[in-house]
């Protein structure tokens, strides 16, 4: 489903971020990408939703080469991928409900569909009572749950979570991870970039280890080990 083929990325100023990365991710997989800060995890994920372009190599999503997409095609491609970040990236002037609904609005979904799906997903993520609060009025864990709800509301094929638990306490962290596992059980491919060792060990699914822009280990039932 997702293929990274000979990917290299050099940032301006001759800073290499990725070096000849080859990786295949199948539909329905749960993949943890681990490594130190600066190992190239985020850069690799950014290529999937076309926020970065590789210096050389190709990224394929459902057999389509992402670098060949035209600018106007990118929004449609991004609607297939749910994204969650460490800093949540919620719109501060919108309530949690509006933030989640916004993802459906931009995908030009019908209002009736939005009204049905948004409360459902807020309920699944455990945000039922806080739906009318603004992001700055809820905890970091609740913000992340809202971000997760937004990423999932369009039922994407792939969920990309880039350090989603980086700012959270252990209980909220585990809440989020359980949600990710549940989503994966329903068939969504989940790619989780993290350097949280206990979490990766507990998940016990495929682990890809990166170091200095290279994939140094790829195990089907791996543990966090650098």
């Amino acid at each position: 489903m997702i293929i990274f083929e000979n990917i290299s990325k050099v940032y301006p100023g001759n800073f290499p971020a990725l070096e000849n990365v080859n990786l295949k991710i199948h539909e329905g997989e749960f993949v943890s990408i681990v490594g130190h800060s600066g190992a190239g995890k985020s850069t690799l994920l950014k290529m999937l939703y076309a926020e970065e372009q590789p210096t050389s190599g190709d990224v394929y999503f459902s057999r389509k080469n992402i670098s060949e997409f035209k600018a106007r095609e990118l929004p449609y491609h991004r609607r297939n991928i749910g994204t969650v970040f460490q800093d949540c990236k919620l719109l501060p002037k919108k309530t949690l409900t509006e933030n989640v609904a916004f993802a459906m609005e931009v995908s030009e979904k019908k209002t009736s569909e939005i009204e049905e799906a948004v409360p459902q997903i807020l309920d699944i993520t455990g945000l039922g009572k806080k739906f009318d609060a603004y992001p700055n009025e809820v905890s970091g864990g609740e913000q992340q749950k809202a971000a997760l709800a937004r990423a999932l509301v369009n039922r994407p094929k792939v969920l990309v979570a880039d350090e989603p638990t980086g700012n959270l306490d252990p209980i909220s962290t585990w809440d989020i991870v359980q949600l990710l596992l549940k989503i994966n059980e329903f068939g969504t491919t989940v790619i989780l970039a993290t350097h949280d060792k206990p979490i990766v060990d507990k998940i016990s699914k495929r682990v890809v280890v990166m170091d200095k822009g290279r994939v140094i280990r790829d195990e089907a039932h791996g543990r966090y080990c650098i």
Binding site: Y49, E51, A71, R72, P75, Y76, H77, R78, R79, T83, K89, L90, L91, P92, K93, K94, F102, A103, E105, V106, S107, E108, T111, R150, N154
Partner: protein, 311 residues
């Protein structure tokens, strides 16, 4: 499409109301921009009124000798009327001239007595010549001077008032030119300030733009709420600047204030013509303000957002 327009309109309205102080500041800047333009237009308009009024009053009087008969004066009038520069001629007969003179001197007994002592009418007929524009008086005066009937004319008062007319003309024209330069410069500055203010507003939303891109919003979907926001800024600013301009006109309609601020203007003119004109054309004024305000808001939004969408 309609769904997109409604949704982005709602988002724009939400941004406008939820941005609080940022919206108030941006609207404030546009109000100042519109008001500056309004004041400049009002000054130019007042100058125009004044120029027209002065031009209306300026004419040259051709004094005909007392021994020239009325039918000859009429021929003379007809000849002067043929000059392309002449707009119209007012004829004042000898009788009328004497009556006017007596009326003007009714408080001066010495003059009235002297006239009675003379017995006959000492005044000749007068032709008040009005030109199409004040520049042409010199030409008319010299044409009369060089004409075949010049010996029938005892005097042309243009020569006497020539310097006054010329100076007034120059002063009004210089004032007008100055007002236009000032209007253009101030309007340009106002536009730049508005542009910069909206740029700052959108810059403060740059993270939101980035988020919108990430969740798959098309460029149009990102752009439209900001454009609607620009429309709201413009309309709100226009709704404030129109009453503000009215108050300003009332303020400069006060004679003491006007005479100190606008030495060439005349409070009565402003009060009567400008305020009346403003009220009569209120719909047009509001429409102009809205259009200009919306143009400022939308244009600045489009230019700024384009930069963020490219990045």
């Amino acid at each position: 499409m309609l769904c997109k327009v409604t949704r982005t309109f709602k988002a724009g309205a939400q941004n406008f109301f939820r941005n609080g102080w940022l919206s108030i500041a941006t609207v404030g800047v546009i109000v100042i921009a519109l008001f500056i333009v309004n004041v400049q237009i009002a000054i130019m308009f007042a100058n125009n009124l004044l120029l027209n009024a002065v031009e209306d009053r300026v004419n040259i009087s051709v004094y005909v000798n007392t021994d020239v008969q009325e039918d000859e004066v009429m021929k003379l009038r007809h000849e002067i009327e043929q000059y392309p520069e002449v707009e119209n001629i007012e004829y004042i007969s000898r009788k009328q001239a004497l009556a006017d003179f007596k009326e003007r001197s009714k408080n001066n007994e010495t003059i009235l007595k002297s006239i009675e002592e003379v017995g006959s009418n000492p005044l000749g007929a007068v032709l008040n010549v009005k030109a199409h524009n004040p520049d042409q008086y010199e030409t008319i005066a010299s044409k009369i001077d060089q004409s075949s009937f010049s010996e029938k004319v005892s005097g042309v008062n243009y020569l006497k008032y020539r310097d006054i007319i010329d100076n007034l003309n120059k002063e009004i024209k210089a004032n007008q030119k100055g007002a236009i330069i000032l209007a253009v410069t101030l309007s340009f500055i106002a536009i730049l300030i508005t542009f910069n203010s909206i740029r700052t507003t959108i810059y403060s939303h740059r993270q939101e733009i980035e988020i919108m891109k990430l969740i798959g919003a098309s460029n149009n979907y990102i752009r439209l709420p900001f454009i609607w926001e620009g429309v709201f800024y413009g309309i709100t600013a226009a709704m404030i600047s129109v009453p503000l301009t009215y108050l300003y006109l009332q303020f400069i309609g006060n004679e003491e204030v006007t005479n100190s601020i606008l030495p060439l203007s005349n409070a009565r003119f402003i009060k009567i013509f400008l305020t009346e004109y403003f009220m009569k054309n209120l719909v047009l004024v509001v429409l102009f303000q809205c259009t200009f305000g919306v143009f400022l808001g939308v244009f600045s939004s489009i230019i700024t957002i384009r930069k963020h969408l490219k990045a």
